[in-house]
């Protein structure tokens, strides 16, 4: 104490975390190796703030870390039992809203929804399952789109628009009717110029977008989150999980 700080900093769970102008709490935390759970955030893209997993308590008020700019001397609570309980409830709601049947999913073991649930020690989805009918679109020669597993993080929307310059995906509807749509007159992925090499085909945190003929190339039990906690994995710049 006493000496003037070289750069501004915030405090996350008693740890001093420096930040530079324009960084969000999430940016600063990721750079400092502090894990804040998140699903819709990926540092490659503009923050979206929809999954709410990254909600932290900033000077006593709850805010999404991925959208909140860091400001000098903020006191942030992150890894607390209360916040993690809320995060677990959010993940449980995602599980019952979609149709997430891990044993029958190619992404199992590489799925960030599943890994976040492991991190938050989810034993069961707790809430009543919706079992909503959702469509599977297998019209594309190289890519499956399985809306049963879509959590509306909009990463594919952002990647397709911002990186691939194709605008293949969008979000339509409101409230519980919100759903991912494909930008083609037919609404089918096969009628777009979407390609397996597109960034949008790599960023899905769950198994909603799957590259065909890769399925079980890496066996269950040898996958990323079979042996690594998501808190270690997401500290590194995110790489495609579906390789």
């Amino acid at each position: 104490m006493g000496a003037p700080a070289m750069s501004a900093s915030i405090t996350i769970d008693d740890k001093n975390v420096p930040f530079s102008d324009g960084q969000t709490i999430m940016d600063a935390a990721l750079a400092a190796g502090v894990y804040i759970p998140h699903l819709c955030h990926n540092p490659q893209f503009e923050p979206h703030g929809s999954c709410k997993l990254c909600v932290v308590s900033v000077n006593g008020r709850n805010m999404t870390a991925c959208t909140m700019p860091a400001a000098a001397d903020m006191v942030v609570a992150n890894n607390t039992p209360e916040l993690n309980r809320d995060r677990k409830a959010l993940v449980q709601m995602l599980f019952v809203e979609g149709n997430h049947i891990c044993p029958a999913c190619e992404a199992s073991g590489n799925c960030q929804l599943q890994a976040a649930a492991y991190y938050l020690e989810m034993q069961s989805p707790h809430y009543t399952h919706f079992y909503q009918p959702r469509a599977v679109d297998a019209s594309h020669p190289d890519i499956f789109l399985d809306l049963n597993r879509c959590i509306l993080c909009e990463l594919c929307v952002r990647a397709s628009r911002e990186v691939d310059g194709k605008n293949v995906f969008g979000i339509s509807g409101r409230g519980i009717g919100t759903h991912l749509v494909v930008n083609a007159a037919s609404g089918r992925l096969g009628d777009t110029n979407f390609a397996a090499t597109d960034q949008a085909a790599q960023v899905c945190p769950t198994g909603a977008i799957l590259i065909k003929r890769q399925g079980y190339r890496i066996p269950i039990g040898q996958r990323t989150f079979d042996h690594h906690n998501i808190s270690e994995v997401q500290m590194k710049p995110l790489e495609p999980e579906h390789e």
Partner: protein
């Protein structure tokens, strides 16, 4: 040394594949240790048909028909601690893949349309339990005390869980043991 009363354990499989039961048997020689402290009530291992008063009930599989509900309620009524084991009991699992397919379509596909089934009919014997429109996880039908996820949970996971429970600790699975697949 006082002869301690053995812990009474019941197990059943509803809409499951018995994989969790196989995984329980996979604890291999530890079964001898287990049998020193527990005795089985209703389970496929004893072939006892109805569950009496028990300390622990372990339920595999989701609820897909009326008989599943009767068995599950019998377990809940008789077991002090009810454990849902495996993906099917906890989320409906693979059988729940039928939840978004019309039940009648399912039946026609299985009993009528498949090649070589000419002249077949959809079974309707009154002894057959009435199927439900959907497969439900057990916690949506009765209160469940503990969940043991996995498809199936490994023998080591089951052993860790059971020893925690029997020895009076809150069952806790570390990261490598907590799995949904």
């Amino acid at each position: 040394m006082n002869e301690q009363r053995k812990i009474r354990l019941a197990t059943c499989s509803l809409a499951g594949c018995f994989g969790c039961h196989m995984s329980l048997l996979d604890i291999d020689e530890k079964l001898f240790d287990l049998l020193k402290i527990i005795e089985f009530d209703r389970t496929p291992f004893t072939d006892i048909k109805h569950c009496g008063p028990c300390d622990i009930g372990i339920v595999e599989g989701g609820v897909s028909n009326a008989e599943n509900v009767h068995v599950l309620k019998e377990f809940r009524k008789n077991c002090k601690v009810l454990v849902a084991i495996g993906a099917c009991a906890i989320t409906g699992g693979v059988p729940a893949l039928r939840n978004n397919i019309d039940l009648w379509d399912c039946f026609q596909e299985v009993y009528l349309y498949e090649g070589g089934l000419e002249g077949n009919q959809i079974p309707n014997d009154p002894e057959l339990p009435l199927p439900f429109d959907k497969v439900y996880p057990v916690y949506e039908v009765v209160k469940v005390d503990y969940f043991l996820p996995g498809c199936p949970p490994s023998a080591d996971t089951i052993w860790k869980f059971l020893t925690d429970l029997i020895e009076g600790r809150e069952p806790k699975l570390d990261h490598e043991m907590l799995r949904y697949d």
